[in-house]
Amino acid sequence: MNGPLIVQSDKTLLLEVDHEQAADCRRAIAPFAELERAPEHIHTYRVTPLGLWNARAAGHDAEQVVDALVEYSRYPVPHALLVDIAETMDRYGRLTLSKHPAHGLVLTTTDRPVLEEVLKSKRIAPLVGTRIDADTVAVHPSERGQIKQTLLKLGWPAEDLAGYVDGEAHPIDLAEDGWALRPYQKQAVENFWHGGSGVVVLPCGAGKTLVGAGAMAQARSTTLILVTNTVSARQWKHELVKRTSLTEDEIGEYSGTRKEIRPVTIATYQVLTTRRKGVYPHLELFDSRDWGLIVYDEVHLLPAPVFKFTADLQARRRLGLTATLVREDGRESDVFSLIGPKRFDAPWKEIEAQGYIAPADCVEVRVNLTDSERLAYATAETEEKYRFCATTDTKRKVTEAIVRRFAGQQILVIGQYIDQLDELGEHLGAPVIKGETSNAQREKLFESFRQGEISVLVVSKVANFSIDLPEATVAIQVSGTFGSRQEEAQRLGRVLRPKADGHQAHFYSVVARDTLDQDFAAHRQRFLAEQGYAYRIMDADDVLAEGS
């Protein structure tokens, strides 16, 4: 017994990455265990019910899971844990949703008491129709998503075998001229298509858009793409035109400014969730065409109302794309039940090792508040405290020093507070992109940044998502949305696109010492450290000394 894996009684799995069997072990446990932390020596996976059900949905059985654990484990696996795994996995598939020739959608069970148990639940009762026989009950087709969501909460996830509608056919092909899907992208598309619906988890910069395009080329039907914002929508359109057989005219944009519905339509979450007089006026978009595929970009940001609409779209294929399944609001289970199980993921570091994303050097620079600032910080109102420490003047000096140090490279300065950004922009002589900047202006600035006409760009959180800035090699984060982990991931993602010259990327966080800022930074960084991006910590004085 000298395997690479240690199975802990709290259902975490510790994988020693330097062990010769580590790669085999990872492949064996990946289907059912979520990678939780991937620091340099020991990776931590967690076995959760969702993970086990994911594995069941992907066709693995308890036997395989137990075998994988027992085979690679260094120490004896706690018996109780094996029993628990078998029992948990056994819960999946006791109930199945399927099509019935006479009754439409039906919920069938292989274990009658389970059906009795769930039917007793008050939350299930309104979703089901007549009892067809002892093991079968009719389900209103419109409640297909709702019932899956509720059953999952009750701990009896249903297997959805009711299939998908094909949707309106539309020819889409990948235009692989001089490029090709990377192996992991191909694998992701394949896994998704095989599973029917589900989520693909890839790090920022690993080409999620292409996975989307690949899926569309598989589906060859009309597609609705939901993205976070307008800039991102344009980005998608640009990319699709470039990478597929689709033309500009086939792709519509459905946003605050334009309301085009075409065979491929890209809509923003914002426009969908706009409410007027208590109703969502743009909901008809979902019914406006017979969509064969719905793509959700950045699933971890999916707003709550979209979950609700999604519950009604269970007969359509759904593809979720994200860099992380971590949701700050903890609605991972809704993603599982409504969009689908995780179909593919690859750890960040692994893709970096394959050279598809740039290696990054992460540095946290700690600045000291001056004595007068400390006093002012201590007396600030609680809700003002973070803003106060995050926008301290010293940060400006440090930022300038870093910018000086990397003069000539493409630098992004990212922050949360407009005043601070404006001030930085002024001092650095760089343009500022913020919420009020018009889309045209944004695109213009992005374009000139891409062309290298300007080398420093100051952006607010509007640039957090989905804008492609291929040549940024240095990002300096001066303030963030409190302790948001996914924001940190997105921002790091800005500099991780592979560089033409194989340059190392740099990610700086400027943090005020001994304040809330530092606590939030620690929270955000922990996430990245767990992804294998170790931080160095530097004192501001050292940075200033280096920079001068």
């Binding site: 620091p39 020596h41 120490y75 018996h79």
Partner: protein, 865 residues
């Protein structure tokens, strides 16, 4: 064991005992230890005691199923019965060979236990046992048999009996006794009986078939249908009460082909293996679990190190504290209760006995900690094996509906050690590496110590639960053994095997069968001549040897402790195996444990680093420590974290002072500090112009004045306080209530109760009574048919027992626990175990009196009405 009573057949149990060999008497006393507390003076007394109800019940409850079935069969057999008759009842007419092979053992066992006596041709069941086991309308027998023809026809008119004789074609007789005998003989005669039954209509035979396995009673209307009438006419059904009929025992036995039991169970059900694992896997898993057990106990003690949870007023741990502990240990609550109880049983934790009582580690814990891991485990396991406290009942309710709390009172279940030992012994009987099917273990235990059939309601509610308890204890034993690492993947591991004193060397399966007759492959009944072990409890020395052997076997199974950890940039340290003690202790302070199991994951946080600094470590110490024990370079953020926390650590200082002296003039303060008379004030200079004092402000003022200064007192806000005597006030107080003269006027309830008590006392004092013989004390009873000297205690007992049967009221003299004598009138309900339970007319309720406190007894002259 065929009893060697070659001399004249014994006439009583006492005589039967007298001719027994010493070995056989010793066996009796070992299996029924209640007979020698106190040691009886002679065999007559021993026989008497062996015949008391409490002792017989206890002995019956400890019989295995087949022996009990044999006893039940004897209870429905003629008294005395021959071995042949008994065999016929057990084996039926076709003589089941398995039963025939097993019966000698059961008979010998019953004889050894002094439940049966007499030679093989005259087997007699002890009278009390017969009464307990024989069927009666109130207490149907587990055999499902009804009364004999003789019993069922008692009180039937002679004319009716003669009619029956005629109906079955027997010649009429001149008296009922011979008529009943003739009828009984007919029913017992298989051939004639078959002919008789053949005449009956099919419907009638169906009725008989319905009643044949019991219960033997049925309802009939006033005007029974023809097929029932046919049965009644022939005496195949006999009336017992209006509308009720019974199937006579002889008829039932005929229908059953002579068998007293539907399913005799001569062979103990085998313990079946549910799964089989390689012994190495079993041992490794068990060792892993044993290690986890040690870690859990250590963690529990650490959790409670600085003051554990409070002790409830009634003793024990509150539900909330148990919940909290369960969360801290990350286990379900019942499991947490198990660990807490285990640590308590091992003497590692106890109540601290302070005014504000809390649980805390005992000094024994510190000693235990110093032991090598295997011995630590062996200590826990040995304690677990013999403990009577059963954590399994925690959370349940006791007889008084109070919640049973962990560490609280009433958790002792005396059966626990024996059941635990037995379960493990059964596991040891399986081939190595085989885990048992739980149900088969339970079935086996039920066979060895069966619930006494539908007789349950006869015993007190408490003991019914106790029976059920054995099964529950067995289940708990299986799960606890797994938790503790006595078993691994359900199979007994080598250290566990050694722990119960089972042979430790792995044996080939064939050999195992021979030495362990309980083995599953062992189907030959001859092996069962050996008794399931009458728990001859191992001596302390044997237990110590077994424990040491277990520790010896376990030690090499534990992984070597590591002296290094892996540090990672996400501020965690992973110990990929158990750590050396010192290392684990320091890391435990320096970092928080995040995940346990084979490995341990530690997380460094500012709080945990501060804790290490508070414990007296310096940043440099910590750096050195990490550098020495890390196999990988210390990550920069961790170094930074330690420095960052150390930088701020101790910058603020906090201390206690009772008062201060403030003065703008440094020189004055110098003067005070230099003055010897100020030494008692505990002054210390905090700043040039401030002194802190340990003395309180009043004493400080007084002291400074005594030295010759003129200090002024300062308020919290810094103002000078003006000294002025305050008026003294009490806290709010209520005005006194008026106290009237004499007691309050009695109400109606009180009055009527008083009157009843007076009247009852009157009855006891004035009832004319028969004079009882003098009470010299020292009771001795004899065998049922022996002449006996009568003494006071015996007379008391006899009169009481008689009164139970007749339902008469008695007059008794009674001395209570304080020594006060009183006279009472009671109607005894039950005499048992030295107590009489009776309806007390004097107190107007049911009470229980110890017989030894009853000074004398007399019958009331008149029937009280």
């Amino acid at each position: 064991m065929s009893t060697e009573e070659k001399s004249a057949a014994p006439r009583s149990l006492a005589e039967a005992l007298r001719v027994r060999e010493d070995v056989s008497l010793a066996a009796l006393l070992r299996s029924r230890p209640d007979l020698i507390t106190p040691v009886p003076t002679d065999l007559t007394q021993l026989a008497t005691r062996a015949g008391t109800r409490a002792s017989v019940v206890r002995a019956l409850e400890r019989l295995d199923r087949f022996a009990l079935q044999t006893a039940e069969a004897l209870a429905v057999a003629p008294d005395p019965a021959s071995y042949g008759e008994l065999l016929a009842l057990m084996g039926g007419d076709e003589e089941d060979p398995v039963v025939a092979a097993a019966l000698p053992r059961a008979a010998a066992l019953l004889r050894e236990q002094a439940l049966v006596w007499g030679a093989d041709d005259r087997l007699r069941l002890v009278r009390t046992a017969r009464e307990l086991l024989a069927p009666s309308p109130q207490h149907p027998s587990p055999t499902g048999l009804g009364p004999t023809v003789r019993e069922a026809t008692a009180g039937m008119s002679p004319g009716r009996i003669q009619e029956i004789l005629t109906a079955v074609g027997l010649p009429s007789t001149h008296d009922s006794v011979s008529a009943v005998s003739a009828l009984g003989a007919l029913f017992a005669d298989r051939r004639r009986m078959a002919a008789l039954l053949a005449e009956l209509p099919g419907e009638s035979r169906e009725v008989l078939a319905r009643l044949m396995w019991g219960p033997p009673y049925g309802q009939v209307t006033h005007d029974p249908a023809a097929h029932l009438r046919a049965l009644l006419d022939r005496g195949l059904l006999l009336p017992t009460a209006p509308g009720t009929v019974v199937l006579p025992r002889e008829v039932a036995l005929h229908l059953r082909a002579g068998r007293a039991h539907r399913t005799p169970e001569p062979v103990p059900p085998p313990v079946e293996a549910a799964a089989s694992h390689r012994p190495q896997v079993v041992d490794a898993t068990a060792a892993g679990q044993a290690l986890a057990a040690l870690a859990t106990v250590a963690e529990l003690l650490k959790e409670w190190d600085e003051g554990g949870p409070a002790v409830l007023r009634a003793g024990g741990l509150s539900v909330r504290d148990l919940k909290r502990t369960a969360v801290a240990l990350d286990v379900p609550e019942p499991v947490a209760a198990f660990w807490v109880e285990l640590a308590y049983g091992a003497g590692l934790i106890a109540s601290d006995g302070e005014a504000d009582e809390r649980y805390a580690a005992t000094p024994a814990y510190d000693e235990w900690r110093e032991l090598p891991p295997a011995e630590r485990w062996a200590h826990l396991a040995a304690v677990w094996l013999t403990a009577t406290r059963t954590p399994g009942v925690v959370g349940g309710r006791d007889a008084k509906d109070r919640t049973l709390s962990a560490l609280g009172p009433n958790l002792d279940r005396s059966a626990a050690p024996e059941v635990r030992h037995r379960v493990l012994a059964l596991l040891a009987g399986l081939p190595e590496g085989a885990s048992p099917a739980e149900e088969s273990v339970l079935a086996r235990l039920r066979w060895e110590r069966p619930l006494r059939g539908p007789r349950g309601e006869q015993r007190e509610a408490g003991s019914t639960r106790d029976e059920d308890l054995r099964g529950r204890i067995a289940r708990w034993t299986l799960s606890e053994a797994e938790l503790l690492g006595v078993t691994g993947r359900g199979a007994l591991a080598a250290p566990g095997r050694a722990l119960i004193g089972a042979p430790e060397a792995p044996r080939p399966a064939a050999e195992a069968q021979e030495s362990e007759p309980e083995g599953p492959g062992d189907k030959l009944p001859v092996h069962h001549h050996r008794m399931p072990p009458v728990a001859a409890p191992p001596t302390a020395a044997e237990r110590a040897a077994a424990t040491a052997a277990a520790a010896r076997l376990l030690a090499p199974l534990f992984p070597e402790p590591l002296d290094h950890v892996l540090l990672q940039a996400d501020l965690t340290a992973v110990a990929p195996g158990p750590l050396e003690r010192g290392l684990a202790d320091v890391l435990g302070v320096l970092a928080d444990v995040e995940s346990k199991g084979g490995a341990t994951v530690y997380r460094f946080t500012p709080g945990s680093v501060r804790r290490a600094l508070d414990a007296g470590q310096s940043a440099a110490d910590l750096h050195t420590f990490l550098a020495r024990h890390s196999r990988t370079p210390v990550p920069q953020p961790l170094t930074y974290l330690i420095d960052d926390v150390a930088r701020r650590h101790g910058r603020l200082r906090v201390g206690a002072a009772s008062a201060y002296v403030r003065c703008d003039d440094d020189a004055t303060l110098d003067e005070i500090l230099a003055d010897k008379r100020a030494a008692g004030l505990g002054l210390r200079r905090l700043a040039p112009t401030v002194l802190a004092a340990q003395a309180d402000p009043a004493a400080l003022l007084e002291g400074l004045r005594a030295i010759g200064f003129a200090p002024a007192a300062e308020s919290a806000a810094g103002d000078v306080l003006i000294a002025r005597a305050d008026s003294h006030r009490t806290p709010p107080r209520a005005a006194p209530e008026p106290v009237p003269d004499g007691p309050p006027a009695p109400d109606d309830t009180l009055l009527s109760a008083a009157v009843r008590a007076v009247r009852a006392g009157d009855l006891a004092a004035t009832t004319p009574r028969k004079p009882g013989p003098g009470g010299e004390g020292g009771g001795e009873d004899a065998a049922p048919d022996g002449a006996l000297p009568r003494t006071g205690a015996a007379e008391t007992l006899a009169t009481m027992q008689a009164a139970v049967l007749t339902g008469e009221a008695l007059w008794i003299g009674y001395v209570n626990a304080e020594g006060a004598a009183s006279q009472r009138v009671i109607a005894p309900i039950r005499v048992e175990g030295g107590f009489v339970t009776a309806y007390d007319h004097t107190a107007d309720e049911v009470r229980t009196y110890p017989l030894h406190r009853i000074t004398g007894v007399a019958e009331l002259a008149d029937d009280e009405g």
